[in-house]
């Protein structure tokens, strides 16, 4: 029914999905301050709610269309899209001077539909949560304006039918992230964190731009269907169509630089280049090594922002892009393996940092980075559905965790009125009793993330680890390329040990995940509440010192007081203060929904039981398969013994969960955290390293940032001194010096002027006294005419041959001489001039007639 209202290729319901958040942002942004908080809340929430309903309708329409097409194709699932063209945007030029139109076109397929539901659904819950969380903020309207704008940009990213439209959303979410991280812009660290996020993302965007021009050149299209059609031309065998890395662009070093010329030019295929460029973009947006550094700092934003942008939606855009462009990535096994390795490395690396952080949001931030690593690992081994499944479950449990943390911070803040301390787990503990809803939901989400059997995280993480072992990315074009190039060109094939390595690294990261998440849970909700000590001067002092010694450098600041009121809460230092309290329903209801989803969303794709329970067609698999169909063809070799080892691999994942969580239980519940302290002391260097994030920020600061800085300083001073110095100041100096010299002549003394005048007249006189023989040579049809320059009282005498006799013995008024040399011969003639004083001078002229009569003659040259 919906499809009759909105045809499949003109599905303008998308306009509503996109338009509502934009409208909300617009009205809240422009009117918000005058509308008051209630109206702002209503506006923001209803915009997202309508969008969500429209998204649900779209999904149902898509389902209808998909089943209809499947039936039409005899049970074979096809890639179905609902698309809508807003207007024609711009165009560019493709590789063969073709016009490549770029339209503002949107489309929904099963992949984007799933993301769309998450964005609007989870987005709505977080909006609801934020409506209470941000209650006391003066810039309430501004917050919701940005938040709605974010949803709009994210939807743009997901729904765009071509890479540039995706890029609009891609940069748009970056902008919203920038604005929201720096939401309390009055504090310098927040503003700096926002800037850092934007610039780190821009480095990724640079990659995306490079990918776009490569794609335009090689495939001649930027929309998904066009790229897919032209993807074959990315795998090129001809030397001249490969990307030459060295010598850059495919030139050749000659002369003195010849030593730089390599034996064989270093080239990569266009598919690898595009993959690498896209990967750079994805690492920036999805906070992977080496560009992850912005995400932990981004926790400076309000907590709902961390939940929505920096956990559930925006940071998964990188994985979305890999899934979306899967048909390009699979063409380069090298890039695929690189993605998987980056993912595994990030997962482990971030988990080690998360082990020792004390700021509750920092732990969650590093956990997000680590989980994103898992997703990368999944898509990197060609298990796109598995990777994307983790995006889905992660959106639920991580949003729940962040919102739970927000609830805790909210409670703590009401108690301590200090931004940093209200996030510090060392002041928490025992909150289980004070905030039961938060505790239970937080626990469920923790169970999901650490992979407790049958929770959502268990299924999705297990699938990724399994696939990492058994999947082996290969190029679908490997054989064709090898035959075409007669065995010259060998496409990269990853080594066989890579799969098990990825698995074990993933397993280690999963163990650490279980440990630090349980540590977080136990420190926050179990034991005794340690927050009472805050406010007592002695305790405060002691903690401050210990904190200082630890070098803890938390930028995280989650404040409820707007930047305007800088008044400090005068704390009553003598009494313990109020107990932490449970949050209002607007905050707990989203928590409950998300916790439920974290527990049960796993049954969308319980692939572990596929064999044992004989499940045909897992729901998510079936739903997403058409999207990845094209990419899956021949791009992955699955190990033969996959079915046999699946159970063992699953047991491994379970062991990771069990070991990690038991260790945390032993350390923080049974021994009350003593072993942790001892460990920190005995392995001091390691502990400090992890606490300080392995000094990566400092290393970047010292190398890249300072390097760029120094380069810029050099450029600026070079500009001032050398460029301006030579072109402006040196020339003006020369002119001024000349002026100074000439000025001495212009001294106003009449005698000097008269003397100079006499010299001048004498010079002129000399010029007139001496005759000046000269002639202009013109050529016509091989006749060379010499015409002597005129002069007062001159008489001329011509010598057709310089050494011979003159034409006339006496000087006469004959000013012309005509010569006719043979082709290819030269003649030298002489002109003698006498003037009124009887002085004579002579000059010789050589005319040369070129051998080829068509060629232009050379002008006569003076001897």
């Amino acid at each position: 029914m919906l499809l009759s209202l909105f045809p499949q290729n003109d599905f303008s319901l998308i306009a509503v999905i996109l338009g509502m958040p934009l409208l909300g942002a617009f009205i809240n942004g422009v009117w918000g301050k005058r509308l008051g908080k209630d109206a702002v809340r209503l506006m923001a929430l209803s915009a997202i709610a309508i969008s969500f309903v429209a998204a649900l309708l779209t999904v149902s329409a898509l389902y209808g269309a998909a089943t209809a097409t499947e039936a039409a194709h005899g049970g074979h699932a096809e890639h179905v899209k609902l698309s809508w063209l807003a207007w024609e945007w711009m165009h560019t030029t493709g590789g063969r001077e073709t016009n490549v139109p770029i339209d503002l076109k949107f489309s929904v397929d099963t992949l984007s539909a799933t993301m769309m539901l998450v964005i609007t659904g989870v987005g709505f819950l977080i909006h609801l949560y934020a409506s209470s969380y941000m209650e006391k903020d003066k810039a309430y309207w501004r917050f919701f304006c940005y938040l709605n704008l974010f949803i709009f940009s994210m939807l743009l990213l997901i729904l765009g039918d071509n890479l540039p439209v995706l890029f609009v959303g891609w940069e748009g979410v970056g902008l919203c992230s920038y604005l929201l991280i720096g939401f309390w812009y009055g504090k310098t660290p927040n503003a700096s964190a926002g800037k850092k996020a934007f610039i780190a993302n821009r480095i990724g965007d640079f990659g995306l731009i490079c990918a776009m021009f490569l794609l335009v050149h090689y495939t001649g299209a930027l929309d998904w269907a066009g790229i897919e059609n032209g993807a074959g031309s990315l795998v090129t065998t001809a030397k001249n169509t490969r990307i030459h890395l060295w010598p850059i662009g495919g030139g050749e070093f000659v002369g003195r630089l010849a030593f730089l010329q390599p034996h064989h030019p270093v080239t990569i295929s266009a598919a690898t280049a595009v993959g690498l460029a896209l990967l750079l973009g994805c690492t920036g947006k999805s906070a992977q090594l080496p560009l992850y550094v912005w995400l932990p700092d981004a926790m400076a934003g309000p907590t709902p922002v961390s939940a929505l942008i920096h956990a559930a939606t925006m940071v998964t855009a990188g994985i979305y892009l890999v899934c979306r462009m899967s048909f390009v990535f699979v063409l380069s096994p090298f890039v695929m393996v690189l993605i998987a390795c980056i993912g595994a490395a990030t997962a482990l690396f971030a988990a080690t940092i998360a082990l020792v952080q004390n700021d509750i949001k920092k732990v969650l931030a590093y956990s997000t980075v680590s989980q994103l690593g898992f997703m990368f690992m999944g898509v990197g081994v060609g298990a796109f559905t598995a990777g994307f499944f983790h995006v889905l479950t992660h959106a639920f449990f991580k949003a729940c965790l962040f919102l739970g943390a927000g609830s805790v911070i909210h409670a703590m803040h009401a108690r301590v009125h200090d931004d940093e301390k209200s996030q510090d787990m060392r002041f928490m503990g025992g909150l289980r009793k004070h905030m039961p809803y938060t505790f239970w939901t937080f626990t469920f989400a923790t169970l999901a993330i650490i992979g407790f059997p049958l929770t959502s995280g268990f299924f999705s993480k297990d699938e990724i680890l399994f696939r990492a072992w058994v999947n082996h990315p290969v190029s679908p074009y490997a054989e064709r390329v090898s035959t075409l190039s007669k065995g010259h060109l060998h496409l990269y094939e990853p080594p066989t040990w890579i799969g098990p390595t990825l698995y074990f690294v993933g397993l280690a990261a999963a163990t650490l995940t279980a440990f630090y998440m349980c540590r977080l849970l136990f420190l926050t909700f179990f034991g005794e509440f340690r927050g009472w000590t805050i406010g007592r001067p002695s305790a405060l002092l002691g903690l401050a010192q210990s904190k200082h010694a630890g070098g803890h450098d938390a930028h995280g600041a989650d404040a409820h007081d707007d930047d305007d009121d800088d008044h400090h809460h005068q704390e009553d230092l003598s009494t313990p203060g109020y107990a932490p309290h449970e949050s209002p329903w607007q905050m707990t209801v989203p928590l409950m929904i998300l916790a439920a989803l974290s527990l049960f969303a796993g049954f969308l794709n319980p692939s572990v039981f596929k064999e044992t329970l004989h499940l045909e067609n897992l729901p998510l698999d079936k739903w997403l398969d058409p999207v990845f169909d094209e990419a899956a063809k021949g791009s992955v070799k699955v190990a033969d013994n996959a079915h046999h080892i699946e159970l063992y691999l699953t047991l491994g994942a379970f062991a990771a969960f069990a070991v990690g969580s038991y260790l945390a239980y032993w350390m923080y519940i049974q021994k009350k955290g003593e072993p942790a302290k001892q460990l920190a002391e005995s392995a001091g260097a390691l502990y400090r390293g992890a606490l300080n994030k392995w000094y990566v920020d400092e290393i970047y600061e010292a190398t890249i940032i300072n390097g760029t800085d120094a380069l810029a300083d050099t450029a600026a001073s070079f500009d001032q001194t050398v460029v301006d110095g030579i072109i402006a100041r040196l020339t003006s100096l020369i002119v001024a010096a000349l002026g100074t010299i000439l000025r001495t002549v212009q001294n106003g003394v009449v005698h000097v002027y008269a003397a100079v005048m006499v010299v001048g007249i004498a010079a002129l006189g000399f010029f007139f006294v001496v005759p000046h023989p000269d002639a202009i040579v013109t050529e016509k049809n091989g006749d060379y005419v010499l015409e002597a320059a005129p002069g007062y009282g001159y008489g001329y005498r011509w010598f057709p041959d310089a050494t011979g006799k003159p034409l006339n013995e006496i000087f006469n008024g004959e000013t012309k001489l005509t010569l006719h040399p043979q082709a290819g011969k030269t003649i030298t003639a002489k002109l003698e001039v006498v003037n009124a004083f009887g002085l004579t001078r002579a000059k010789e002229f050589t005319v040369e007639r070129p051998a080829d009569p068509d060629k232009n003659m050379k002008l006569g040259q003076n001897p």
Binding site: G19, R34, D38, A39, T92, F167, Y185, I199, R202, A716
Partner: protein, 664 residues
């Protein structure tokens, strides 16, 4: 920053006290109604007709209603009108997806003398201003603005022209002629799809700059108005001249008022900067004059009648050997590249911008720099294609390294906001030049669009810097900080202009940069280095964010450290009106670039194909040049009909023949 970060409500913030049970009923009903209306509109987006009819009325109404009541109707009305005009512009100019055959057949009549009117209005206006009393400040100001608005209105009919490959509104009248000396200079003006947008940019930006200057220029108002009008006339003239002598005259005419504007109304070092500006430009233009004369003389020697010509289309027929062409190309290119400015002759720009008054900076950045890029595109590429091809790749390297990257790095290290924006201009014009050197369809369209974009976003930035300068009398970044709190509307505007400048998608900057970068990569004019130059240009995107966001952070975010910044008043009505059209255009170009691209497409394709036609036959650089005697090609089929001396008898018999084809 949302568009409304800004809105100053005089009532205290709606805290818990004001949110009485009923306080939200009315606004929420309003919202729901609005929701319904806008949903309906969204549904009808595809039908088109509703948008076309209702939006020009609805949008201004909404805008007028939205602006805080603090600003009276004198601010709200103009802003509403701007919004309405923008909607009309978009809905009318949006290129139709499919054109009916009947529409094509009907070619509207073009007003033949429109360009002369366009040129005469500001120039005559300048003369008229001289006869007005010096003391009548208001009259002088409003007369000047009125003349400029009339000029803008006169330029509007240009938008109805269907721009093809050729030139329009051709007007060719002998100006200085001598039969015996074989010497002829014509008053020859014409316009094509490329210069059209630059003319529109000029007539659009100049009134804005003028209006903005009313608050800050308080001395010698008569001279100021005269200079502005003369400047506008000069700029318009340079864009439409098709006679090189005439072009040179206008090229110099616009130099003088700008020199005076910097020297008289500028900052503390104004004299030095003005002289620097003048000398740099003059050095280049004298070279160009010599080259123009040599070119005309060479044409005279080669032409059958021996008649010298300064006419662009005639001179375009000349095919010159290498040893002549490179010198002439060098002279022209030097003149234009100084004006652009390109490294290493760019150092006059930061000085001139820093010292120039706000309106001067705006016009200098928005229009005068485009003279260089436009000149290169039209004259260097058009007259010396082989030489342009030979040096294009090298110059593109200079544009990337010296412009995009070096300019951006320098911008990052500036302490003075105006200097920073000036260096950012060097970087942005590096993109434009790169697009021209790459010479593919997309890169050249991107370059022309980026000329307009830079005019709008950098013009807005200079205007906004002027706003804060008028209040604080400093432009040092260190003197600001935390201004977002005291000047929220201003901060919003500034951030929008910044985002346009760093090329955020959805704003105008992105479209231009994107087209240039993708167009450059596919270029075959740059040899092996096209790839690395595209990558370099893409790196410029990162650096752009770096320097602009650093400046924004230093100006607006963080705590207020200086007590002077605590009580700075926000942007006022006049400034808001001045900057609003630019902000609107940022989004109009960003979202509907096809309006602009469709106008220039064929003209750009003409330039690109003419250029390629001369370069492509021979792959090696030195084989492209002519080796024999100078050749005259037939006149280009896209050129307007050549001038024919009217024969009185024939003219009487058949008036149409006077404009007919010339057969030589």
């Amino acid at each position: 920053m949302s568009a409304a970060d800004s809105k100053h409500d005089n009532t205290p913030d709606a805290g818990p006290a004001t949110s009485a049970p009923n306080a939200w009923v009315v606004p929420s009903i309003t919202i729901l109604v609005l929701f319904a209306v806008l949903t309906a509109i969204l549904f009808f987006v595809n039908r088109g007709d509703i948008i076309g009819l209702a939006a020009p009325v609805v949008v201004p109404a909404i805008v007028a209603a939205l602006i805080p009541q603090k600003h009276g109707w004198r601010v709200r009305l103009p802003l509403a009108i701007f919004a309405g005009l923008a909607v009309i512009f978009v809905s009318r100019m949006m290129p139709a997806v499919a054109v009916d055959a009947t529409d094509v057949a009907e070619i509207p009549k073009e007003p033949k003398t429109l360009l002369s009117w366009l040129l005469a209005l500001p120039l005559l206006g300048a003369v008229a201003v001289l006869f007005m009393p010096r003391q009548a400040h208001k009259t002088l100001q409003w007369t000047t603005l009125g003349i400029m608005l009339v000029t803008l209105a006169v330029s509007l009919p240009l938008m109805s022209i269907t721009w093809g490959r050729g030139y329009h509104l051709n007007q060719d009248i002998p100006w200085i002629e001598s039969e015996s000396l074989h010497f002829s200079i014509h008053y020859h003006v014409a316009i094509d799809g490329i210069s059209f947008w630059l003319v529109m940019l000029t007539t659009f930006i100049t009134p804005i700059a003028t209006y903005a200057s009313f608050g800050s220029i308080n001395s010698r108002i008569k001279d100021w108005c005269f200079a502005l009008l003369l400047l506008e006339g000069g700029m318009l003239g340079a864009f439409i001249s098709m006679d090189l002598f005439l072009f040179y005259v206008f090229w110099e005419v616009m130099l003088i008022p700008m020199y005076v504007m910097i020297g008289v109304w500028g900052g503390t070092n104004r004299i030095k900067s003005a002289i620097k500006f003048f000398l740099y430009t003059m050095f280049g233009s004298l070279m160009m004059l010599a080259a123009i004369l040599y070119l005309a003389y060479t044409f005279g020697k080669a032409a059958p009648g021996g008649m010298t010509s300064f006419d662009y289309f005639e001179l375009q027929r000349l095919v010159l050997p290498r040893h002549i062409q490179i010198w002439l190309f060098g002279a022209f290119a030097l003149s234009f590249l100084i004006k652009v400015p390109m490294w290493p002759v760019h150092t006059w720009l930061p000085d001139a911008h820093t010292e120039a008054p706000t309106a001067g900076s705006v016009i200098l950045a928005a229009v005068m720099l485009k003279m260089g890029t436009y000149g290169y595109l039209r004259f260097c590429v058009g007259l010396f294609p082989e030489a342009s091809g030979e040096y294009g790749a090298t110059l593109a390297g200079v544009a990337v390294l010296g412009g995009i990257l070096y300019g951006a790095l320098c911008a990052w290290k500036q302490d003075d906001v105006k200097r920073l924006v000036a260096y950012s201009s060097v970087a942005h014009l590096g993109y434009v030049m790169l697009g021209i050197f790459a010479a593919t369809q997309a890169s050249m369209e991107g370059a022309v669009l980026q000329m307009v974009n830079h005019g709008i976003s950098t013009g807005a930035l200079f205007l906004l810097v002027g706003v804060v300068y008028d209040r604080r009398h400093t432009r040092q970044l260190a003197d600001f900080g935390g201004l977002a709190k005291t000047m929220p509307v201003y901060a919003t505007m500034f951030v929008i202009a910044t985002l346009a400048s760093i090329g955020l998608p959805g704003t105008n900057g992105f479209v231009g940069e994107f087209m240039i970068i993708t167009g450059t990569f596919v270029s075959n004019k740059l040899g092996h280095v096209a790839g690395i130059q595209s990558v370099g240009a893409a790196i410029g995107v990162i650096l752009g964010a770096l320097y602009m966001l650093t400046a924004v952070q230093k100006m607006f975010f963080g705590p207020i450290t200086k007590s002077e910044n605590k009580h700075v008043s926000d942007i006022n009505g006049r400034e808001l009106i001045a900057v609003a059209p630019l902000i609107i255009m940022i989004f109009v170009i960003g979202l509907f670039p096809n309006i602009f691209l469709s106008g220039m497409r064929d003209a750009v394709s003409r330039v690109a194909s003419d250029y390629s036609a001369r370069l492509e036959p021979a792959p090696a650089m030195n084989q492209r040049y002519l080796t024999g005697p100078i050749v005259l090609n037939p006149r280009s089929s896209d050129a307007p009909p050549a001038y024919v001396k009217p024969d009185p008898a024939a003219a009487k018999a058949d008036p149409a023949a006077a404009n007919g084809e010339a057969k030589q």
